[in-house]
């Protein structure tokens, strides 16, 4: 009896388990499904963002240019020799206007001529000036050149591919007709936009580039890295390896964690008060920007460096100490090399954060219109995210695509930095 009874219970138990198993498997599946769904949602959001940015921004990498037969006529230029002095005063605008009139000889009235002249970018005279400067032999000769088109023309030409009519905006019927003629005869083409990578900011979209902002970001990050990495690592080593555990170190730890969560604009205000108003450092300089961003990234670096040091097993320290190494030798010969990959990863992530910041820079004058490409850490400069912000705020239509293009450049840098951090960790990490 007891036997059957036990058998029965066993049978029941099995049934119960089987029933339960099905529901457990179901739950498992739902949980996994939720996980996959959340990842899919994330990927979808990123895809939407990227397609939007790329579809808007890819246009900025090409730029319409107009082919013209330009004569470097000394009479029009008003110079008889090519040197620094005369080039400054030479009337290159006149040369371009002459060439445009020759291309469209029917244009007579004053207002028509104004329309005609506005086909070419106001930066075109400087292109000619550079050409003549590099080859003085050209004076008096005729040359076929591609000159950058005005941004209104460029926007119109690019919109032609979307619809037959295109976006006229400020382009008159007359001008649209000229543009069509030029396109048909192959004298207006979209070419790779080198200006975008070689120039600083400009109010004319066709002459605006990201070089100044890129270099500004570079100098700012250089200052940040040079200051925050050694200071952060030193602080982490002291706190982790030397400092006694007491009220004071607890207080410091709480404060560091707290600082990591402080909104970045606060660091900007601090920077304004300390570096600019008290130390009288120049406004708009990458030096000050770097100092402010150092304050901002230090907590991140200290926290990740401490985590990396903690991950080094105590047995390594004990072995080194046991063999007679001093504390410093133990740290520099054994602990630090093993913790370095984690520290570098933390530093790279901190730098990537700093690369994307605008708020703290607002206060110290780095949100500004900067044309000249900075050459050092005290030249006025701006940074990439600020450049994006400024372009997004500009009325000119052609800045819309440049904004997205600049975002693409910034994103590619961020992706590169974060990939480097992952690879570095994979390559150097050691597990015990």
């Amino acid at each position: 009896m007891t036997d059957t009874n036990r058998n029965l219970t066993q049978e029941q138990v099995r049934q119960r388990i089987e029933q339960h198993l099905a529901s457990r498997h179901r739950k498992e599946k739902v949980f996994r499904g939720l996980g996959i769904a959340s990842v899919a949602f994330g990927i979808l959001a990123v895809l939407v963002l990227f397609t939007d940015i790329i579809s808007k921004g890819s246009g900025a990498f090409v730029q319409s240019a107009i082919q013209l037969e330009v004569t470097y006529d000394p009479l029009v230029l008003g110079i008889d020799k090519v040197d620094e002095e005369s080039l400054t005063w030479a009337n290159f605008t006149g040369v371009i206007r002459e060439a445009l009139r020759e291309r469209f000889p029917k244009v007579q009235s004053r207002s028509e001529k104004r329309e005609l002249y506005s086909l070419v970018s106001s930066g075109a005279p400087f292109t000619l000036r550079k050409r003549l400067q590099s080859d003085p032999e050209l004076l008096g000769k005729t040359q076929t050149v591609w000159l950058t088109a005005d941004d209104d023309v460029d926007t119109f030409v690019k919109s032609l591919s979307d619809s037959k009519e295109g976006f006229r905006g400020r382009t008159s019927d007359q001008k649209a007709e000229w543009i069509q003629q030029l396109i048909d005869s192959g004298e207006l083409k979209k070419r790779f936009n080198t200006t975008f990578f070689t120039q600083g900011d400009s109010r004319e979209p066709e002459q605006a580039g990201i070089r100044a902002a890129l270099l500004g970001s570079f100098f700012t990050l250089l200052v940040t890295l040079v200051l925050s990495f050694p200071i952060g690592v030193a602080a982490a080593i002291y706190l982790e390896e030397y400092a006694p555990k007491n009220k004071w170190t607890d207080l410091i730890e709480v404060n560091i964690n707290n600082l990591a969560a402080v909104p970045s604009i606060v660091f900007g205000l601090l920077g304004l008060a300390i570096f600019i108003n008290f130390f009288e450092l120049p406004r708009s300089a990458p030096l000050v920007g770097g100092l402010v961003l150092t304050l901002m990234t230090l907590p991140t670096i200290i926290i990740s460096s401490r985590a990396a040091l903690k991950a080094v097993p105590p047995s390594i320290r004990e072995a080194a100490l046991g063999l007679g190494a001093s504390r410093m030798q133990t740290i520099f010969h054994h602990v630090l090399p093993l913790a370095m990959p984690g520290m570098l990863t933390g530093a790279i992530i901190g730098m990537a954060q700093a690369l994307g910041e605008t708020a703290p820079l607002l206060m110290i004058g780095m949100v500004a219109f900067i044309v000249d490409v900075p050459t050092g850490i005290t030249d006025p400069a701006t940074v990439l995210p600020v450049q994006i912000f400024l372009w997004a705020d500009s009325p000119e239509r052609a800045f819309v695509e440049r904004t997205s293009a600049a975002i693409m450049v910034l994103l590619s840098f961020l992706i590169a930095m974060n990939t480097a951090a992952v690879l570095l960790r994979k390559k150097l990490e050691r597990r015990w």
Partner: protein, 350 residues
């Protein structure tokens, strides 16, 4: 490894210190209104191309923020020029004076503030009175008595039966913006004054008058849409029932997406703003620190470029950027004042 890092840190600090020692500023520093920013930056760029001076650094801080930086004092670390989308206030001038700053006022042109809606919708025709009735926090009692009631109007039709039966929904800049100040002053106050009993208050009780005429309703009919005018344009396209408030240059550049509201029979165009027949237009100014004119290289040539015909003239490059020129006689007079660098002492003179 650590030694190398230490050495490079030291090197960087030394370089920084040595550069600081010779950091006498060689570029002009400009702050101020985001409305004036597109114009100052354009001049800055052309100026540096045409001359050997460095390109001025232009920050967009808003009119009030710019005044604060500008009036901080005299010296290399303070701004040389500030842009303003309204005239300097007495309080700001006093602050400048107490910090020893002598200012030169230059009116550079006009800017129109437009109301606009999406092109897909029918165009609006409004008067300033209707704008005031639709957007003020408190309006005169509709029964005709001389009392104020909280704004009861929900749709444009409520304001004027001739207007469409759509909900009042206006996207505009927040109170920190100069555009908002000017819109309140020219648009709302313009309509507010048309009630004689409120206009009479201007003499007797100036503060109440201002509170009535400048306070925008907060019940959701006026939506603060941030300082980015491009954003407002995009929101208008998405919502054809809404109207937006922004600067004329954004209307000029987005004429395929939005259309300007006709105000008192005048559509916002270059011509109507320049001859001041379009009612909501405002003057734009730049203020220059006189003490800096001979210290910071390039200020005088920069001002000369700004006030040259090719820049601010009717066919100048600033007109191309959407600024509306002063009348010719006024331009000549201002240009002469600029050459003399006449100091602004009090606001009554003009």
């Amino acid at each position: 490894m650590n030694k190398r890092i230490l050495a490079s840190t030291l090197a960087a600090v030394t370089i920084a210190a040595s550069q600081m020692a010779m950091a006498a500023r060689d570029h002009i520093s400009i702050v101020g209104s985001s409305t004036v920013y597109p114009f100052t930056t354009t001049v800055a760029e052309r100026f540096s191309r045409a001359t050997k001076f460095k390109t001025p650094v232009v920050e967009s801080t808003g009119t009030g923020g710019g005044m604060k930086l500008f009036c901080q004092g005299v010296g290399e670390n303070t701004a040389d020029i500030t842009g303003a989308s309204r005239r300097i206030k007495q309080s700001e001038l006093d602050m400048c004076h107490s910090n020893g700053v002598e200012v030169v006022e230059i009116q550079i042109g006009f800017d129109g503030i437009v109301l606009a809606n999406a092109k897909s919708a029918a165009s609006f025709k409004l008067s300033r009175k209707e704008i005031f009735l639709a957007l003020a926090k408190e309006v005169p009692n509709p029964d005709g008595s001389e009392t104020l009631v909280p704004n009861p109007y929900k749709t444009w039709k409520d304001v004027n039966p001739a207007l469409p039966n759509t909900r009042i929904e206006v996207l505009g800049p927040p109170p920190t913006s100069g555009t908002r100040d000017a819109f309140a002053e020219l648009g709302l106050e313009g309509g507010c004054k048309s009630f004689a009993w409120i206009a009479a208050k201007k003499k007797t009780d100036k503060n109440t008058y201002k509170a009535i005429c400048h306070t925008v309703r907060e019940d959701g009919a006026y939506i603060e849409a941030g300082e980015n005018d491009n954003l407002i344009v995009n929101k208008l396209v998405a919502n054809p029932d809404a109207l937006g408030v922004f600067g004329f240059s954004f209307l000029d550049q987005n004429s395929d997406k939005v259309q300007g509201t006709v105000i008192e029979g005048k559509a916002p165009t270059f011509e109507s703003i320049a001859d001041q027949s379009y009612p909501i237009s405002r003057p734009l100014f730049i203020y220059v620190k006189k003490a800096h004119a001979d210290v910071i290289p390039g200020i005088k040539p920069f001002l000369a470029e700004f006030t040259s015909e090719r820049a601010w003239g009717e066919d100048g490059y600033l007109a191309d950027k959407g600024m509306i020129s002063l009348p010719t006689a006024k331009r000549r007079q201002v240009a002469a004042d600029v050459r003399e660098l006449n100091v602004l002492t009090d606001l009554s003179e003009n």
